[in-house]
């Protein structure tokens, strides 16, 4: 579990943050409509309209969460590729400890 930590001055923003904001807003409205639907149902009022609105929000929320998962996977693949590309670089390009004479090789 990720704890609370102070971000560094050069830290980049998580690209998923914008999607998270949208998910949060939709989730808020979904929760509001859930409460309204339950209250309408319990008090014997017509709850069909509220329930359908809730359904629309839940579907939208599910789509957004699926989109976020796909984004997470894409980012993970991109990170792995970048790390692999960095590993494949010749050592003299990275500044090898022997000054590029080739004594230290991986």
């Amino acid at each position: 579990m990720r704890g609370i930590r102070v971000m560094g001055s050069g830290a980049q923003r998580d690209p998923r943050e914008t999607l998270d904001v949208v998910i949060g807003a939709v989730a808020f409205f979904a929760f509001a409509f859930l409460v309204i639907t339950v209250v309408a149902e319990v008090t014997g009022q017509d709850a069909l309209g509220w329930a359908l609105t809730l359904l629309a929000f839940v579907v939208l929320l599910a789509l957004l969460v699926a989109g976020r998962r796909r984004m997470t996977r894409t980012l993970a693949v991109r990170r792995t590729d970048a790390a692999r590309a960095a590993d494949d670089l010749p050592l003299d390009m990275l500044g090898s400890p022997d000054g590029g004479r080739g004594a230290v090789r991986r």
Binding site: R2, I4, R5, M7, I23, G24, A27, F28
Partner: protein
């Protein structure tokens, strides 16, 4: 002769051509810049007229004799101060002075509380990395988009059962819930662009996190804080819907007081007196904005450019 003069003439010709091209380019550039300036000036004039025209009309009507309320002359005619006397008089049951004081108290308390919570929340959202940060911001955004009219009946029932109807807190609490998301969002976007190296330097120099925040971050954030304070105050000052239902005569705000205005003539809508009251109500906001003008401009432009 021609063999010797040929290259020299060609060089001179080329230079002349180059100069001509540069001159033409300069002329085109100047013309383009001038056209751009004219377009900008026209746009600015249109925007200013669009924004100022209703206020100008309000002032003109507020100084017009009640018998000429519907006169459409666009400048001052049939000048009188009577409308201001009517608006500020308590003989007709109007309590504009008291309403002004109520609005001032409610707006000031709302602004202070919003800033107190908003600054810390925005700092945390901009500076700290924690799980569900984006979702927290989304919920704040959702709360700010929630229609106020949907809260009216539940709030009325709740405050009636608490005995809060006609009290200041009955207006302050809903006003905070409307202004706080605005405060948090504005300050978060500002804090995101803040040079955090300064805070880190203060920490290296021996400041505690609280001292770095108080002595380095807060002074740097002052323009944004002032801008946000003004926006929160205006939001609270202009609130009508909740105030119209949850106040009594003693705690009426200006928007409610003006809506219930009575004029000097029976069976007549007191439009001119309402306009006069509108001018009186706008003056505190104008004064506030003028006092903090420099800081507000700095705050509005801050956070708009990266780097």
């Amino acid at each position: 002769m021609s063999a010797i003069a040929g290259p020299a003439a060609a060089t001179a010709e080329g230079r002349a051509l180059r100069l001509e091209r540069t001159g033409t380019a300069n002329k085109v550039g100047k013309r383009r810049r001038r056209n751009q300036s004219i377009r900008t000036a026209i746009s600015a004039i249109v925007i200013v007229v669009w924004c100022v025209a209703p206020f100008y009309w309000m002032i003109v009507t507020s100084f017009r004799d009640v018998g000429f309320t519907f006169d459409t002359t666009p400048w001052f005619t049939h000048f009188t101060w009577d409308n201001y006397v009517t608006a500020l008089s308590t003989n007709l049951g109007n309590h504009l002075g008291r309403a002004l004081l109520n609005s001032l108290i409610i707006g000031a308390v709302t602004t202070v509380i919003c800033l107190l919570f908003g600054i810390f929340a925005a700092y945390a959202l901009a500076r700290l990395d924690f799980r569900f940060k984006g979702i927290v911001m989304g919920v704040i955004l959702g709360a700010s988009m929630f229609p106020g009219v949907a809260l009216l009946t539940p709030l009325f029932q709740l405050f009636t059962s608490w005995g809060w109807i006609g009290t200041y807190q009955a207006l302050i609490l809903p006003d905070i819930s409307f202004a706080l998301p605005l405060t948090v969002y504005t300050l978060t976007s500002f804090f995101r662009e803040m040079p955090w190296d300064l805070e880190e330097a203060a920490r290296i120099d021996g400041c505690t996190p609280a001292q770095a925040f108080r002595k380095i971050i807060l002074p740097l954030a002052a323009p944004a804080v002032f801008t946000t304070a003004i926006l929160a105050f205006i939001a609270s000052w202009n609130e009508y819907l909740i105030a119209s239902q949850l106040t009594t005569d003693a705690t009426q705000t200006v928007t409610v007081a003006i809506a219930g205005f009575t004029g000097s003539q029976p069976h007549q809508e007191p439009y001119t007196a309402v306009m006069a009251a509108g001018v009186v109500v706008t003056i505190p906001l104008v004064i506030l904005v003028l006092i903090f003008q420099r800081r507000i401009v700095a705050g509005l432009t801050a956070g708009g450019v990266k780097g």
